[in-house]
């Protein structure tokens, strides 16, 4: 067993375990903190896939900004413990069956994939995949999608401000 394989298996166990802990913990703050663990594990997996820039973005944007937003809203609304007995007990069973069917389908597809997908991948050229080359690609070849994404972010920002504005100020 190589070192890479051992790291992958450890990270996979951490990620799946923390995501299941995120589901079963009744306190929303604990759920958010478990999700942070999952995001960090996935960031290290990105490093294994030699996508260092994406890994750093994952830590800064996801584990940093987005999870702080989650924790802020949870604590602002004081809704840590709203999970009580559901009025629809069949919902839990239906969710369990549906996700079980989904993962069986995924496993079948992943295992019977045609060809030798498990192959080696060569080392990347030095500097390839770094922030500089990604930036050049974003601003040259993918300029239009990039600008559309920035418009989307602007719309989301305006929408969030409008939605959370006090009623009396209208």
């Amino acid at each position: 067993m190589t070192v890479e394989l051992a790291i992958f298996l450890g990270l996979a166990v951490v990620a799946v375990g923390a995501s299941i802990a995120m589901l079963v913990s009744r306190n929303a703050v604990y759920s958010a903190l478990f999700l942070v663990i999952v995001l960090f594990a996935i960031a290290v997996l990105y490093l294994l896939l030699s996508a260092a820039f994406i890994a750093m973005v994952q830590v800064a944007v996801y584990a940093g900004a987005i999870m702080v937003l989650f924790l802020f809203v949870i604590m602002l609304l004081g809704t840590e413990n709203v999970e009580s007995e559901s009025r629809r007990p069949w919902q839990f069973a239906a969710a369990l069956v549906l996700s079980y069917v989904l993962i069986i389908q995924f496993l079948v597809v992943a295992i019977v994939l045609p060809g030798d997908f498990g192959g080696e991948f060569g080392a990347l050229v030095d500097g390839f995949g770094g922030p500089a080359s990604i930036g050049i690609l974003l601003f040259k070849e993918y300029l239009v999608p990039f600008e559309v994404t920035s418009l989307l972010l602007l719309a989301a920002m305006v929408g969030a401000i409008v939605l959370t504005r006090r009623e009396s100020s209208r």
Binding site: L49, L69, L77, L98, L113
Partner: protein, 102 residues
């Protein structure tokens, strides 16, 4: 070397856990967390496919950056909606927000 299918199986497991959270949790904030988990599983798939099959160009990485931006926008609007709903109805339990139901 880790086979590609292992990455796919891990992403599938994370996606299934996320969709279970979306379907089974009652707290609207926890439902958003499940959506985040599903988006991360998709990102993991994208990067694994990029690295194993198309690592001669950076298209996969650009794709993941777009997904990250869309996820950030989605969380901002979703949490703003939850705050707005809480102001009006004093609840974030998904099945009590039934104003639009017949």
């Amino acid at each position: 070397m880790v086979p590609l299918s292992w990455y796919l199986i891990l992403a599938a497991a994370l996606f299934a856990v996320g969709i279970f959270g979306v379907l089974a949790r009652r707290n609207a904030i926890a439902i958003l967390m499940g959506i985040e988990l599903m988006l991360n599983a998709v990102n993991l798939n994208l990067l694994a496919f990029w690295r194993y099959l198309w690592s001669d160009n950076l298209t996969g990485v650009v794709f993941v950056i777009m997904v990250l931006a869309v996820a950030a926008a989605e969380v901002a609007v979703g949490l703003a909606l939850i705050i707005s709903i809480y102001r009006r109805r004093s609840t974030v339990v998904a099945e009590e927000i039934d104003l639009l139901k017949w």
